[in-house]
Subunit: 123 residues, 2 copies
DNA sequence: CTGTATCCGATATGATACTG
DNA sequence: CAGTATCATATCGGATACAG
């Protein structure tokens, strides 16, 4: 499958292409709080995600080396997901985004404006 | 239009929802280098983007307060786009992502691996 | 010049059912 | 438990034509 666009001299877009899917930053955040999480735990922590999409996200994160998948062929099988070093580093960088998001939100609410984090939802 | 997902306790996803579209980080980067850019200039600097998508991105960035649109009702009209303070701040934060992307890329190439920034393109 | 309107195909997501 | 398969739907991006 070819990407929707290429070669625009913007390396960060490649990274964003990997974290950009819905739920992905949240998955990274959840994994950053635990040594590891099993598929079912992630599924329970993100009630609105379907198994298919959760699988897609995890496979993509695994392919890009951000998440490690530890498959234990027990019966029934148990699978543990954890952040790789890169995954942890990416999560650290994303904290800057989170702080900005929270601060803007607070500013907007103080001014009784629609918070920037809700603008998309309000479209 | 409703968003694809909501309310997952992850503020940064709201921000990412705004910068996540293809081209958007690049647009922010272009605007960060200039006082302002006109629609046609942006269009020329991003040859592969269609007018429709460029308009969509700019409208979204404007709605979220990241970009300022200065419409001059001359004949023909001239429109200048520039970063707001928030847009500039977001761009700063994104530089961290860019640096990580470039470093990982260099590491992967040294090891003769497929660079992480090309994994999506290789799918 | 700076867009808008429209149609269309590609892609992504969601729901459901099913399996090793 | 941890997914996969399938189908239906929704959204997105691209191309073209056109307008104030």
């Amino acid at each position: 499958m070819a990407p929707k666009h290429e070669s625009n001299q913007c390396p960060m877009e490649s990274i964003l292409g990997q974290i950009m899917g819905p739920w992905t930053p949240y998955i990274l955040w959840l994994l950053s709080n635990e040594e590891s999480l099993r598929f079912g735990q992630l599924s329970a922590l993100i009630p609105d995600i379907s198994a298919k999409v959760l699988t897609d996200r995890l496979r993509k994160l695994e392919a890009s080396g951000l998440v490690h998948r530890d498959y234990q062929p027990t019966v029934p099988p148990t699978v543990y997901y954890s952040l790789t070093d890169r995954g942890a580093e990416l999560h650290e960088v994303l904290q800057g985004l989170n702080e900005v998001a929270l601060r803007w939100d607070a500013e907007d609410r103080k001014k009784r404006l629609i918070p920037v984090t809700e603008i998309i939802a309000a479209e």
